[in-house]
Amino acid sequence: MNDAIRRAATNARIALTEEEVERFSKQAEDILKAFAGLKSLDTRGEEPSIQPIPCENVMREDLPRECLTQEDALSNTPHKKDGYFKGPRVM
């Protein structure tokens, strides 16, 4: 379990200390053990419910309409330059 938790944390961009890896792994084991009953249910032929209520695709004309201004979209960050978000280095 420790390795799986380490891998999941890395994927989720969360750094864990060794103490946290131990603690989270133990807690995850408890939780998954308690949830193990799910696996015993026969779900062959069942569709997964991604929504609780059937949802249909909603389409609209592909036309420009009112949306956030660039200024509003950038109003919550200090990381911006020339009207764009500024991110960390990628390479």
Binding site: A4, F35, A73
Partner: protein, 454 residues
């Protein structure tokens, strides 16, 4: 004093009272005095009604954090649709209410870094319940006309309302637009209301319910008339109660809930025992696996670039995002993100995420069969009355999750449900939870109007 002046005076008094309560009980993350004064005197169905807004619902230019340090300082450039509609109806917003970080909790003790834990309105050693703890607390304490706008993913409206002795209503999934709600789990999140005054809550539902082009999952079905349902007859209403959830509850809680059902029976409703074996045994597991999986993707966007808590741009993107998320997310948020990521990882996805989604289908089918026989399903809202903070702090994460055993079923299936105060156990309030079929919402307001708490 002119009318306008006296209205402004009322708003100032409500703000003062809310702030005084907040000093002792920690129900607010932010106050919005300017917006409150600006709204005062505006005509509409909710004119002179004070509203509070759970801190995961966007209010334009008012700090909105979902109770997390990772959103500190975020001032949305737009209103959530539900907020926009409340403001158009003349409601006066006082502030943003306390919650578990992103809604991740049943006791409102999992607050984000630097946030305060709200205290129970009748005894500060006890918890409010969560995740809408601030909403329920201020609803219990306020002496001004008040409705709390709040949100539920797995029970976050009815749990704190039950613990605090007020009414909580969570509508059908899709009844109220989620536009401007900071997602926890998009297929489970619903905006609803908490309050003491059923009529105000019904009026508020009339305002906020209905289709919104900004949320493609919001329903186009016509909205029922909530206030008109209050006081209507309950003759012939068929209530199915789940004995297992009464037997599994604290005996005093079960006793109070049974008493309320007897009241309803005396007024013409019929009672019958029903069994929902899949829901009873598997809804908690299916709910948590799905909620955590969805949360892990929804929270991926918080990385310190576009809004909220941040730091100097340093290192490569992976290092920067990891630095921000590790430093600003709380323990429970990390746990749910990591477990949710795990449940969706190659090799585990079919066994956990997909299996939970298929079990959800079976649970929905089970509810459909039940609603062919009964109009409403009744259980205690919470299996026990509000516990002490010191006792909650001793619980393991799994023990925390078990508190939701009665509330996750209707949330997983997207069903409307309401908690109504019916009495007390161990000097703490007890709530009865009533669940009805999809979009058959007003029956709950009718039944609630016939319950008299003792």
């Amino acid at each position: 004093m002119t009318v306008a002046q006296s209205l402004l005076e009322k708003t100032k008094q409500a703000l003062e009272q809310a702030k005084r309560i907040d000093q002792h009980y920690h129900y607010f993350n932010t106050f919005c005095d300017d917006l409150a004064l600006q709204q005062t005197g505006k005509p509409g169905i909710l004119a002179d009604v004070f509203v509070t807004i759970k801190d995961n619902i966007c209010v334009k230019n008012v700090e909105t954090t979902a109770g997390s340090a990772i959103l500190r300082g975020y001032k949305p450039p737009f209103h959530a649709t539900a907020v926009e509609r409340l403001l158009q109806a003349g409601a006066i917003p006082l502030g943003k209410t306390a919650m578990d970080e992103f809604g991740f909790g049943s006791y409102n003790t999992n607050v984000g870094k630097g946030f305060r834990v709200p205290k129970h309105p009748s005894s500060p050693e006890y918890v409010t319940g969560g995740s809408s703890g601030g909403a329920a607390g201020i609803a219990a304490k306020a002496t001004f006309p008040h409705v709390a706008l709040c949100e539920s993913t797995g029970g976050s409206i009815v749990a704190p309302a039950s613990f605090c002795g007020v009414i909580g209503y969570c509508p059908t999934y899709g009844r109220v637009s989620r536009y401007g709600l900071l997602d926890y789990a998009s297929s489970l999140d619903k905006i609803g209301v908490i309050g003491k005054d059923l009529i105000l809550m019904a009026k508020t539902m009339n305002i906020i319910a209905g289709h919104d082009p900004h949320d493609s999952t919001s329903s186009t079905r016509p909205v029922q008339n909530y206030p008109a349902a209050i006081g209507a007859t309950i003759k012939g209403v068929n209530i199915g109660y789940i004995p297992a959830f009464f037997d599994g509850a604290d005996p005093e809680v079960a006793r109070e809930c049974r008493h309320a059902l007897k009241q309803l029976e005396a007024k013409g409703a019929t009672l019958q025992a029903i069994d929902l074996p899949l829901t009873q045994q598997h809804s908690l597991s299916a709910y948590y696996l799905l909620a955590m999986s969805e949360a892990s993707t929804n929270l991926a966007k918080y990385c310190g670039i576009r809004y909220g808590g941040t730091d100097k741009l340093e290192g490569y993107f992976d290092q920067f995002f990891t630095h921000i998320r590790t430093g600003l997310l709380g323990d429970e948020a990390k746990r749910r993100i990591i477990l949710g990521t795990f449940a969706r990882m190659a090799g585990y996805r079919d066994a956990y995420y997909l299996q939970a989604a298929k079990v959800r289908t079976k649970i929905i089918e089970e509810y459909k069969r039940a609603f062919a026989d009964v109009d409403v399903i009744a259980t205690p809202t919470m299996p026990f009355p509000a516990p002490k903070l010191a006792d909650v702090n001793k619980l393991s994460p799994l023990q925390n999750y078990l508190a939701d055993v009665n509330t996750v079923g209707p949330n997983l299936a997207g069903l409307p449900h309401m908690t109504v105060p019916v009495g007390s156990a161990k000097m703490m309030p007890v709530g009865l939870m009533l669940t009805s079929s999809w979009f058959d919402e007003t029956i709950l307001f009718t039944l609630a109007s016939h319950v008299e708490a003792r």
